[in-house]
């Protein structure tokens, strides 16, 4: 089949390419309207990569976005819309930080303990919506949004000075994780330090791919996602799939903040970043839940986030980045849909044509 490869490429690569071009055009227009210079903006965005720690910063952010993106994708594959990754990763992070601050095991064991407790906390926090869904049929969208709000209260409680918090200047933080628990990074001198956790992110990506494509569970997951009724008829236990997918999603989300926690900050503060969960949703959408695609989405998102700093630095309104990110997500979804309909129509024509020739051929043979 000579036309197969280009078509696959067209289906997979064309939509994101179209989306990026479209959003770049939109931003050019926005810049021209706001009296900014698209040339300056583009130059700043491109040249920033070679300057200082920017390249490493992008990879570091992408590591975080990748983990949370995979967490979201696991749910998406099962048609579970786990908005709760936001709460799950923060609960995981604060649990890891508290456990790490309270213990002092030898190296290797200490970070392992922090990772395991963060993963367990993330999974447990995801278990609530899963249980509600399978026993009571409550939509996970509603419960996870609610639990995100609840997680803010839990965090405030946990890092309070009366519980596990310590006052540092005007900030409240958990007790620092001892040095044995740190995961050393790869230093590039004046170009920054790459999080050692990037290895874990890659491992998670590989594990995700293997699980999807080479395991029975992955097959059942995809089957349930694509056609729940067919999967059920094939003997897949839908409730079990929901619970396991949700737990896996929460567990992966629990890893999200660990690159920063174990590689740089060593404490969780009341100012620690939030909002990675929503980035994860965008990144998973961009990457079409595909392990490689999510990596691409995470890198793109990290690059754009970093651009906000660089653009601000050359006097271009940094809000342009928010416009670009929004436009990309929007147009990626639209262009996938356009391409999908186009492919569907092409497929129908092709099948129709083949059927037509087949009928003619059969008719010809019979005569």
């Amino acid at each position: 089949m000579p036309g197969r490869l280009p078509r696959v490429l067209r289906g997979k690569l064309l939509p994101p390419a179209m989306a990026i071009v479209f959003s770049a055009l939109l931003c050019t227009v926005a810049l021209l309207i706001s009296a900014g210079s698209p040339g300056t903006a583009l130059a700043a965005m491109v040249s920033q990569v070679g300057k200082g720690t920017t390249a490493v910063d992008i990879l570091n952010s992408a590591t975080i976005y990748y983990l949370i993106g995979v967490a979201v994708a696991i749910g998406f594959k099962m048609n579970l819309f786990n908005i709760g990754v936001e709460g799950q990763y923060r609960i995981g992070a604060v649990t890891g930080a508290i456990v790490g601050g309270a213990t002092n095991l030898p190296p290797v064991l200490e970070p392992l303990l922090v990772i395991l407790s963060a993963v367990a906390a993330g999974a447990l926090y995801a278990a609530l919506p899963a249980i509600l869904k399978v026993t009571r049929g409550v939509s996970e969208v509603i419960t996870t949004i609610m639990l995100n709000a609840v997680s803010i209260g839990i965090l405030a409680l946990l890092i309070n000075e009366k519980t596990f918090g310590v006052l540092v200047n005007n900030n409240i933080a958990t007790k620092p994780i001892p040095q044995s628990g740190w995961i050393p990074g790869v230093s590039f001198g004046s170009h920054g330090t790459l999080f050692g956790f990037v290895v874990v992110a890659i491992a998670v990506g590989i594990a995700y791919w293997v699980m999807l494509n080479r395991s029975r569970f992955g097959f059942e997951l995809r089957a349930s996602g694509e056609s729940p009724t067919a999967a059920m008829a094939g003997g897949v236990n839908a409730k079990r799939m929901i619970v396991v997918a949700m737990l896996l999603s929460g567990a992966t989300a629990g890893l999200t903040a660990l690159p920063e926690l174990l590689g740089r900050d060593h404490v969780y503060t009341q100012l620690s970043p939030q909002g990675y969960g929503f980035t994860g949703i965008a990144v998973a959408l961009l990457g079409r839940n595909n392990p490689g695609g999510i990596a691409f989405g995470a890198l793109l998102w990290a690059f754009l986030d970093q651009s906000a700093v660089s653009l601000d630095n050359v006097g271009v309104p940094k809000e342009i980045v928010t416009i670009m990110q929004g436009a990309i997500v929007l147009s990626v979804v639209v262009s996938y849909e356009v391409i999908r309909r186009f492919e569907l129509a092409a497929e129908q024509r092709r099948v129709g044509a083949q059927l037509g020739t087949a009928t003619v051929a059969a008719a010809g043979g019979a005569s």
Binding site: G52, N79, I152, N171, P273, V309, K318, T322, V333
Partner: protein, 382 residues
């Protein structure tokens, strides 16, 4: 497949909601407002104010310094220039330095909502790499990032508003004794309350805002030992939303007003507008502003008639003094803490609503400066 598309639509909606929320800014309302006349002393039994008389000291020297050679970098917290709060105050300090010290080369950068510490670090690194020196960071959120960056640029001088950084000789902390200024507005509140019942509304329950509460509570209690005080925070620590939520601020203030309080002190950033609104709707009640002289702020003009005073935190003075000290090559002239004695904190008298009790407030002010009254930074338990 249809479900998947639904999911996508929801995701887009959410993403845009998040960005919208990030961009949302309160626009100033418009409309008229009447004016009520100032009331005399209220319904409390007051202790005698201290006998000391006002003696304000100034440390500012009039030595001419030329800062035209300085490349000044400013890194604002979320909101940046134009937030009518402490970022704006820092910007005023910078503008004053431009006008009076001849500072020319300035680069101002602003944090994005929900950005990570990595972005803050990158912002500071880029400023330092481009040769900006000194670099002023506004807000304690820069504490951890600055600690990492300052190590790598030992030749660059940094300053940070509202925080200190340990083991960093090139970082100058610009901190304030918010509790002292809050003590004075606590005294004002006690004297202006007719019901002998006052209230405090904080934005987020973090140590910084608790300093405001601690000072206010003690000030009110010192002036009128029998006074009743309501203390509320809009959100708990970890949820910065409390600084950006006027409707919630309004609810909290309404709660305190209906409990009987008739003078409300707010330390809630942008949410303060909602608190002023509640006080104005209630009528026969007063509000006390924070950070800058809020009586004079154009965006709060509607509520001017209820704002009797403001606790002033002179971030602008600190930034200006710092830049002058750097230009003069003498950081040692800077006060360790911007306190009441050096004018780092104070209270506003615009509107003339507290003219009748100014002597009393000045007496307390002198007593704090002389060390006769020590104001704690954490609220008393219970």
């Amino acid at each position: 497949m249809r479900r998947m598309r639904g999911v996508a639509v929801v995701a887009i909606a959410l993403t845009s909601v998040v960005s919208l929320a990030a961009c949302a800014k309160d626009s100033a309302g418009s409309g008229g407002g009447g004016s009520t006349t100032s009331q005399g002393a209220g319904g409390c039994k007051y202790t005698d104010p201290p006998k000391a008389t006002a003696a304000s000291t100034t440390t500012t020297s009039d030595k001419k310094v030329d800062a035209s050679g300085l490349k000044v970098g400013l890194a604002y917290d979320i909101g940046g220039r134009g937030d009518a709060s402490f970022n704006d105050a820092a910007a005023h300090g910078l503008d004053r330095a431009k006008a009076e010290l001849g500072v020319k080369d300035v680069r101002e950068t602003t944090a994005t909502p929900n950005e990570s510490d990595a972005a803050k670090e990158a912002r500071l690194r880029q400023l330092a790499q481009d040769g900006y020196n000194p670099i002023v960071t506004v807000g304690y959120a820069y504490g951890l990032p600055l600690a990492n960056v300052a190590k790598d640029f030992p030749g660059t001088r940094f300053a940070i508003v509202d925080s200190t950084v340990d083991n960093a000789p090139n970082v100058t902390p610009l901190t304030f004794t918010e509790e002292q200024g809050s003590f004075l507005v606590g005294v004002i509140a006690a004297y202006k309350s007719k019901a002998c019942h006052v209230g405090f509304v904080g934005g987020v329950q973090v140590p910084l805002i608790q300093k405001f509460q601690a000072g206010f509570d003690l000030g009110a209690k010192t002036a009128a030992p029998g006074i009743k005080i309501e203390d509320q925070y809009i959100t708990p620590a970890g949820d910065p939303g409390g600084y950006q939520d006027p409707p919630k601020g309004r609810l909290k203030a309404q709660g305190e007003l209906s409990a009987g309080a008739d003078v409300i002190y707010q330390a809630a950033g942008n949410s303060g507008k909602g608190i002023f609104q509640a006080v104005k709707e209630k009528g026969n009640a007063y509000a006390i502003g924070v950070d800058s002289d809020q009586y004079k702020q154009p965006t709060l003009a509607d509520y001017r008639d209820v704002i009797i005073s403001s606790m002033i935190k002179s971030v602008d003075l600190a930034v200006f003094d710092y830049l002058r000290a750097v230009a003069g090559g003498d950081l040692a002239t800077l006060p360790k803490v911007f306190d009441l004695a050096v004018g780092g904190v104070g209270y506003a008298t615009s509107g003339g609503r507290i003219d009748d009790i100014r002597d009393i407030v000045e007496a307390y002010k002198a007593e704090i400066i002389s060390g006769g009254i020590k104001v704690p930074t954490t609220p008393a338990a219970g």
